[in-house]
């Protein structure tokens, strides 16, 4: 369960716990095409981490493995708050909130029904699910659209509804895969602002996958992925240092992705 809102002691408590996400020695191939090579990184509780990589770097495959859409072959492992995904998928998935790259709301039913369906998939009582759904929709300023069909929402509203749905189960780790794809600048900023706010106020750990460098906040922890390999990891200054003292993040990104191809 996520710590209570604005609970500093709870945030401090989780900061001493196991990593929110620990990926180790993760390799994966689609047939003969190797897409991940020995990937390893961590996201700590309360941390906003950005998985930065160009299209085709292996981000979505990594997400599919972290969310157990399919299993990674040994010795690769995915641990959520210390729980090995392959051994205890239920316990691990129960702590995850997910926003996928593709829109995943059912367009023919209402926003609230989409959220209630998600609550049911996690075994939540309907009344509790409804209470939480309205709370989350209020936080993304969509409470007045709860009864609208998803088809009637704009792209930005749909994305915010997906974030609200991901938070319905009060996850401790939120994964977002290219969550701002197809959105205009104000909508992208709104989604980003909301998620970062959750990090700082509620101690939620976030892994934000993107190919957009401008989505990396200065204080974020960066995991740079290229050609299926983690090329650099750390704070922005640490990543710059790992990219042969690159002057800025775009330059570091260009150097590290170029070296991956070379």
């Amino acid at each position: 369960m996520r710590p209570d809102h604005h609970s500093t002691s709870a945030i401090e408590a989780v900061s001493h716990a196991a990593p929110a996400l620990e990926v180790a020695r993760l390799s994966f191939a689609y047939g003969a095409r190797q897409v991940l090579h020995d990937a390893a990184f961590r996201v700590m509780p309360g941390e906003f981490a950005v998985l930065l990589g160009p299209n085709g770097a292996g981000k979505s495959t990594l997400f599919a493995l972290i969310t157990r859409l399919f299993d990674a072959p040994p010795p690769g492992s995915v641990r959520i708050f210390g729980t090995e995904m392959r051994e205890e998928p239920g316990a691990a998935l129960a702590r995850l909130g997910l926003v996928f790259q593709q829109p995943t709301l059912d367009p023919d039913i209402s926003v609230i029904e989409n959220l209630l369906y998600h609550g049911a998939l996690h075994g939540l009582p309907r009344a509790e699910s409804r209470r939480r759904a309205m709370h989350e929709l209020e936080r993304v300023e969509l409470a007045d659209r709860a009864g609208s069909t998803v088809r009637a929402l704009s792209g930005g509203q749909r994305r915010r509804a997906e974030v609200a749905r991901a938070l319905l189960t009060q996850p401790a780790l939120l994964l977002l895969d290219e969550a701002t794809t197809g959105l205009d600048m104000p909508s992208r900023a709104a989604v980003r602002r909301h998620v970062r706010n959750l990090c700082t106020t509620e101690g939620l750990a976030v892994l934000w996958a993107t190919h957009l460098i401008e989505e990396v906040p200065e204080e974020a922890r960066v995991i740079m992925l290229a050609e299926g390999r983690v090329r650099a990891e750390g704070t922005v200054p640490e990543v710059l240092a790992q990219a042969a003292q690159a002057p800025d993040l775009p330059d570091a990104f260009a150097r590290l992705t170029a070296s991956a191809k070379g």
């Binding site: 157990r68 299993d71 593709q102 029904e113 998939l121 309907r126």
Partner: protein
């Protein structure tokens, strides 16, 4: 029984949520409801009227007298509703996967076999509602089984629907794209329907072609139709019941394997 800290009541809420969503989708897609109803009615009103004097139906169990051809084909048409519903369900799963909403289902903390079972049962319940509407409308064509038959046919519909839905689920785990679903129509639905006892008694097929008769006998849809036929007249056919159960276990087991993350069929499909 707890999985991911979710108690048994949570499992049932999951089932209820999936059934509710399936029902909502069906209600919102009115065209789907009407086509589901019109399809068997076209067979009953047009095909049966045309063929009633061509295809003779002798007295054979469960019927105790000569019956109208319309009466004979109604169990087969009820089976056809379930067959199409099972395939429609698999079509929707392929669609769900393409648009991404399948991921929402598969990343639930509950076990995948349970999620697939819920999905299957939800589709079957929607199919059964369609069958009952069809059976009521069929009374206008003087297809009037005993009233108790409407009750005794329910378990047969559930079992047959689950078996056909499991087949659809299995197919959905192998189909890469929606476009491939046309192949399912050609290579699964039509052969299963026509090589069965839905439209003609199998003794007629046996007279025409012995190999085809064997095929019809081995067709699980034939067994489902016979199970429904007997149940609709308050009788139990143990052979067809056993055959449908075995087919359900085989198709259901294979479908669970198809969606098993360790077997990685989803991953292989993602590889293109």
């Amino acid at each position: 029984m707890a999985h991911g800290g979710i108690p048994l009541s949570g499992w049932l809420r999951c089932l209820s949520g999936i059934v509710r969503r399936e029902a909502l989708r069906f209600v919102h897609q009115r065209g789907r409801f009407f086509s589901a109803l019109v399809r068997p009615l076209v067979w009953l009103a047009i095909f049966a009227a045309g063929f009633r004097f061509v295809l003779g139906v002798s007295i054979s169990p469960p019927y105790q007298t000569y019956v109208l051809y319309e009466v004979y084909i109604v169990p087969g048409l009820a089976g056809m509703v379930l067959l199409f519903q099972g395939m429609q369900s698999s079509l929707s799963m392929v669609y769900d996967r393409e648009v991404g909403s399948m991921r929402v289902l598969l990343t639930s903390p509950l076990p995948r076999w349970w999620l697939l079972f819920c999905k299957l049962l939800a589709a079957v319940l929607v199919g059964i509602a369609q069958v009952y509407v069809f059976l009521l409308v069929a009374r206008f064509w003087e297809v009037e089984p005993p009233l108790i038959g409407y009750l005794t046919v329910l378990p047969a519909l559930i079992l047959s629907g689950m078996m056909l839905g499991a087949l659809g689920l299995l197919l959905s785990s192998w189909i890469k794209q929606l476009e491939n679903f046309a192949g399912v129509m050609n290579f699964v639905i039509f052969p299963m329907f026509f090589a069965s006892s839905a439209l003609y008694p199998l003794w007629r097929v046996q007279e025409a072609s012995l190999p085809l008769w064997y095929v019809c006998q081995a067709n699980p849809f034939t067994q489902a139709v016979e199970l429904i036929r007997f149940a609709l007249y308050g009788q139990f056919d143990p052979v067809s019941c056993a055959a449908v159960t075995v087919a359900l276990l085989v198709f259901g087991g294979a479908a669970v394997l198809g969606y098993d993350p360790q077997r990685g069929m989803l991953a292989r499909r993602a590889a293109g």
